[in-house]
């Protein structure tokens, strides 16, 4: 199996958390996994893009036109990284409102900020929420709900119940997209 994910967002939105969760999930499936994260300067509210490569890879970075999935925690950051998606095959799961433009990639769009403003879930769990949308709507996503739940639990057992609740809420919400 080979599956490449770009996670785009703004420093502080928890993109690195998702890298960790997906690496743990890969480990649970006994798959190889290489990822890369942003630390330091790029964390200070600036644009952040992290990579996760599941399967037999040698390098942690992702080239243009190679990603199977782009999880965008914010709309413009999604567009800024759109060139990393595979033409004709890649899916973008994006947190954006109705103004998000039509693009030539399979787009799953949800206005997670609006839901957080309505206090439907805490904004700190935006990353987990978007992972839930991914689980529900990316048919090629290589992990099951159980594997992601287990990975979230291994990551932080204390926070896991709340995170898993948000995950399931997102899976529910994804039905209405």
């Amino acid at each position: 199996m080979k599956y490449q994910v770009v996670i785009a967002g703004i420093g502080g939105q928890g993109a690195v958390f998702l890298v960790k969760v997906l690496s743990i999930a890969a480990g649970l499936k006994d798959q190889k996994c290489l990822g890369t994260e942003n630390h330091g300067m790029s964390q200070r509210g600036g644009s952040v893009s992290c990579y996760v490569k599941v399967g037999d890879f040698h390098s942690p970075a992702i080239d243009q036109g190679q990603a199977d999935l782009l999880i965008a925690l914010e709309g413009n950051e999604g567009l800024r990284n759109i060139q990393y998606l595979k033409k004709g095959e890649g899916t973008i799961i994006v947190n954006a409102d109705s103004k998000f433009p039509d693009i030539e990639y399979e787009t799953i769009k949800i206005d997670a900020f609006a839901k957080a403003r309505k206090k439907e879930f805490p904004i700190q769990a935006l990353n987990v929420y978007m992972l839930g949308i991914t689980l529900a709507r990316d048919p090629h996503f290589p992990f099951s709900v159980n594997e992601i739940e287990e990975a979230i639990t291994q990551m932080n057992a204390k926070m896991a119940p709340k995170n898993i609740e948000v995950l399931h809420q997102a899976i529910e919400d994804a039905r209405d997209i």
């Binding site: 690496s23 743990i24 890969a26 480990g27 994260e37 509210g45 040698h58 942690p60 413009n76 998606l85």
Partner: protein, 602 residues
């Protein structure tokens, strides 16, 4: 056993597994997590080991080096530009050698992600004549920590590990030792004056000759232990790719995915290389391409008309590797047609830029805002330094950034060169302790008249909030006393999130400066908003919103104050993003000329 590790976790774990019981360093992205993780593993495994944050990289190196002279297994960590600071010690240590073992970790940053240069520490190792190992992944970093310490002990030399950002901050499922048997070497200094205090010229001349002999022996080791086993696996293609570190992964993936025929020979130790033995291999190939980043360290050690690389303009010379650049090199070397498989169109319309910024509620923002209000741009020069506060560039409050501590010495230089302007320099507390003290002493010594603002948030914030000297030892170290000890006038301000008060303080400093004959130092006692110990009690948790009728879209808040939650909405009025606002209330005071920022009523 298998473990999911970030590169810097893998390095720290390997240090413990390799019996390192003395470690010192100064934080710097991408190296910073190594010492923090070492401390974490040390506590987890309950082993006795000494670990410290030194005041700078030179100090850290010397502490670890003395440990190795005394027979211990030690480590010093730094980022690549930190190596510049430690280089004075390294250059001599390379002549002298050691008894125990010492791994010096210099983490590089191809692509300038968090650094002011793209310098290659492997090339520095070559300059210093010490062996260097270049890992491609966290797993290799784990393995090479152990190998590096073995080499260091065997050849009695400081050995460098050079991971790049894409190794330090990569994450991989690694195979690591199941069991920990921690048996550190005993520290016992043995007097050997002719070695540890070799006097030039005779003593150092002799050590210089020994250094050459040592290098020849390491080259032989490199060949028999590391290179020759890999030569056996070469398949006899027409093209040979020589790789080192991350360059290897990009090449292997590109060859596999594009189904290109080429042999790949990876050098784990890119210096010192057994030149003749490697060049003899070229006979069987039509072309040889070197893939390494960022400098041509391997390429400069070899010579052949078959060789393609950065020096022949076939491989990119600046920025990080990509697989696209591998194909470009193949095409430049005449092996394939131009290939754009790894290219795809960016989003065509312009997207709002999102540069890194000071956090919402960061006290630095208020201090720079006050400096700009009180010391007008046309009549001032603002040298600054390396840290979070460098981001005040966004506020237009910084004119120069050079290297650690340079704000102070450059303030001296500007005060001499352009005395018609007021020089207002700024530096963080950690950077001041790192390399700001000696230029301040010089300024007093030479009577240079300028203002130095020390932004004291009592943490090394940018690199992950490591403890600073004053924080670690508050009853003994006081920046104010250090400044006064240098002989400079010093004024202290206890920051509160009230812009009016901060401006008042800067006005007082301006008055003091008018009468001064030497440097005037202002210490602003701040806090970092990410500091879980201090920030909660310092922040008032009073949130702001915008009175839309009062906002006249004057741009002052978005250009001079620049707090991330503030942006224009569809009606072209400022709005505050409630998800980002941290409740510092600072903007309620002096920022808006029409008082449009108002408190959110609960």
């Amino acid at each position: 056993m298998k473990d999911i590790l970030m590169g810097n976790d893998a390095i720290a774990l390997a240090l413990i597994h390799a019996n390192v019981d003395m470690i010192s360093g100064y934080p710097g992205t991408p190296s910073s997590e190594i010492i923090g993780n070492f401390q974490k593993f040390k506590n987890k495994f309950k082993v006795e080991a000494y670990s410290e944050w030194a005041t700078n990289e030179k100090v850290g190196f010397e502490v670890a080096y003395a440990g190795a002279i005394a027979g211990r297994t030690t480590c010093a960590t730094m980022k690549q530009v930190g190596l510049n600071v430690a280089s004075d010690a390294l250059m001599s240590a390379s002549y002298i050698g050691l008894k125990g073992a010492m791994l010096m970790i210099a983490a590089d940053d191809p692509g300038f992600h968090s650094s002011q240069t793209e310098q290659d520490s492997r090339s520095f190792a070559k300059f210093a004549k010490i062996p260097v190992l270049d890992p491609a992944t966290p797993q290799e970093a784990y393995d090479m920590v152990k190998l590096g310490l073995e080499i260091s002990h065997k050849f009695e030399t400081v050995t460098m590990l050079r991971p790049v950002m894409r190794v330090c901050h990569a994450r991989e499922i690694c195979e690591v030792d199941d069991k920990l048997e921690f048996n550190p070497a005993k520290g016992e200094f043995q007097r050997e004056i002719s070695r540890w205090a070799a006097v030039p010229p005779a003593g150092r001349f002799r050590q210089g000759l020994e250094q050459f002999e040592r290098l020849e022996a390491i080259k032989e080791y490199n060949w028999t232990e590391l290179i020759a086993p890999r030569v056996k696996t070469l398949k006899g293609a027409k093209t040979l790719c020589l790789t080192s570190g991350t360059g290897d992964g990009y090449v292997k993936e590109a060859l596999e995915e594009m189904k290109l025929e080429a042999d790949v020979l990876k050098f784990d130790m890119p210096y010192p290389l057994p030149k003749e033995k490697i060049e003899a291999l070229f006979e069987n190939y039509e072309k040889v391409i070197v893939f390494e980043e960022p400098y041509p360290c391997i390429e400069e050690q070899l010579s052949s008309p078959k060789l393609h690389g950065k020096l022949t303009n076939d491989v990119h010379k600046i920025d990080e590797f990509t697989k696209d650049k591998v194909l470009m090199a193949f095409s430049n070397a005449g092996l394939i047609e131009k290939n754009e498989f790894y290219k795809s169109e960016k989003y065509a319309d312009e997207l709002p830029v999102r540069p890194p910024n000071l956090c919402p509620g960061c006290p630095h923002r208020d201090v720079y805002y006050a400096i700009m209000k009180v010391f007008k741009k046309k009549k001032s020069i603002y040298p600054s330094d390396i840290g979070c506060y460098t981001l005040a560039l966004n506020q237009g409050a910084i004119d120069t950034v050079l290297c650690m501590g340079a704000s102070v010495s450059m303030a001296s230089g500007f005060s001499v060169a352009d005395p018609s302007k007021t020089v207002v320099a700024s530096i963080g507390d950690s950077t001041f302790m790192h390399s700001g003290v000696s230029p301040l002493l010089n300024a007093v010594y030479q009577n240079h008249k300028f203002i130095l603002v020390i932004l004291d948030n009592s943490t090394t914030a940018m690199t992950g909030r490591q403890k600073t000297p004053e924080r670690e030892n508050p009853n003994k170290i006081d920046i104010k006393k250090v400044v006064e000890g240098c002989g400079a006038e010093c004024y202290e301000y206890d920051y509160t999130p009230n812009v009016d008060k901060t401006i008042e303080f800067m006005k007082e400093i301006k008055a003091k400066y008018a009468e001064a004959t030497g440097p005037v130092v202002a210490i602003v006692r701040e806090f970092c908003v990410l500091d879980k110990e201090r920030a909660p009690e310092k922040l008032p948790h009073v949130f702001a919103e915008v009175d839309q009728d009062k906002c006249v879209a004057c741009d002052i808040c978005t250009t001079q104050y620049k707090c991330p939650p503030m942006s224009y909405n569809e009606d072209h009025k400022i709005e505050i993003d409630p998800f980002l606002c941290i409740g510092c209330a600072a903007c309620l005071d002096d920022v808006c000329p029409t008082d449009a920022f108002v408190e959110v009523k609960k």
